[in-house]
């Protein structure tokens, strides 16, 4: 059996040649580019935030950064919008669960403050994070 030129090539250079590394680098690069795609596309949500306080809905713009004070049935709180994300910045409620929930980036998920009967969400079709058969 006589090895072909390509077989010899592989033996000499080991397992992976520069073309392999190039291909892998391309795959990683594509993945990183897709990951760095603005988070806004990923959310697929609207450009507004709905803050429902005791059944009354206030709509805030998601594209403008800002701090929005509210007067809840339990205590005053502040909703802040920054870089297309929304979070409960400050709340007068005792447990502070809503503040610790962090920021919302899209329609999947809500921030809830029970003492103030408040729900914060971004309207729209939620991104799937799982599908069951």
């Amino acid at each position: 059996m006589k090895p072909t030129a390509r077989d010899r090539d592989t033996r000499l250079r080991g397992w992976v040649n520069r073309w392999d590394l190039l291909a892998m680098a391309l795959v990683v690069l594509t993945a990183l580019l897709l990951l760095l795609w603005p988070a806004m596309v990923r959310t697929g949500g609207s450009d507004t935030v709905e803050v429902s306080v005791d059944g009354q809905i206030a709509v805030l713009p998601l594209l403008e950064d800002g701090h929005h004070p509210f007067e809840g049935p339990d205590s005053p709180f502040v909703v802040s919008v920054q870089d297309r994300t929304v979070r409960m910045e400050r709340a007068g409620c005792p447990d502070q669960l809503c503040v610790h929930q962090g920021a919302l980036r899209g329609p999947s998920g809500t921030i809830v403050c029970l003492p103030n009967r408040t729900i914060i969400r971004i309207p729209g079709e939620p991104a799937y994070d799982g599908v069951s058969r």
């Binding site: 397992w15 594509t30 990183l32």
Partner: protein
């Protein structure tokens, strides 16, 4: 008909089915039907180098058919996801088999396009493009998985197995 080639093909098909079965016993990496590590692709890649493109396509299609019949997923969502991934991957593998890529590099590209095909089918089935946001993570995952599934083929090629085609009446050493 070249009996030897046919036997090798049958053996590879059996191995692919068994590997698919083994893969089903481990919990899935992500909760989407049909998306797995890709152990049967080891066999498809070996078949592509050893026997040829047409034979690799046959083994790949029969593998999907048999496994779907065995598991009762024939024409289910997982079936279409598998089929789409396998066909896209095999198209890329066939096109680049004779390029300068080694089996390992080729395997990584195959795994990437396998994932792409699977996600495209999943997106079509679910009627939403949102699943495509999983693609970057799958692409990153396809590097280690592709390397692992490429190693057996690389080993066989380094031993010169593929330069003796079975229809040339040669004995297989190694």
């Amino acid at each position: 008909m070249k009996t030897r080639e046919l036997s090798i093909q049958a053996m590879l098909l059996a191995a692919a089915v068994v590997l698919a079965y083994i893969e089903m016993m481990v919990p899935p990496l992500v909760p989407l039907p049909g998306i797995k590590a890709g152990l049967p692709n080891i066999v498809i890649l070996v078949c592509l180098y050893w026997l040829g493109r047409r034979q690799a396509l046959t083994v790949s299609l029969l593998r999907i058919l048999l496994v779907s019949l065995f598991t009762g997923t024939w024409l289910g969502p997982g079936f279409y996801v598998s089929l789409s991934g396998a066909l896209l991957a095999l198209a890329v593998l066939s096109a680049l088999r004779d390029s300068r890529l080694s089996p390992i590099g080729l395997s990584v590209l195959g795994a990437s396009f396998h994932n792409l095909g699977q996600l495209l089918a999943a997106a079509a089935l679910l009627g939403t493009a949102q699943v495509l946001w999983l693609l970057p993570w799958f692409l990153l995952g396809s590097i280690p998985l592709g390397v692992v599934t490429g190693i057996p083929t690389q080993l066989l090629r380094n031993r010169g197995i593929f330069s003796q085609r079975p229809d040339r009446n040669a004995t297989i050493s190694g």
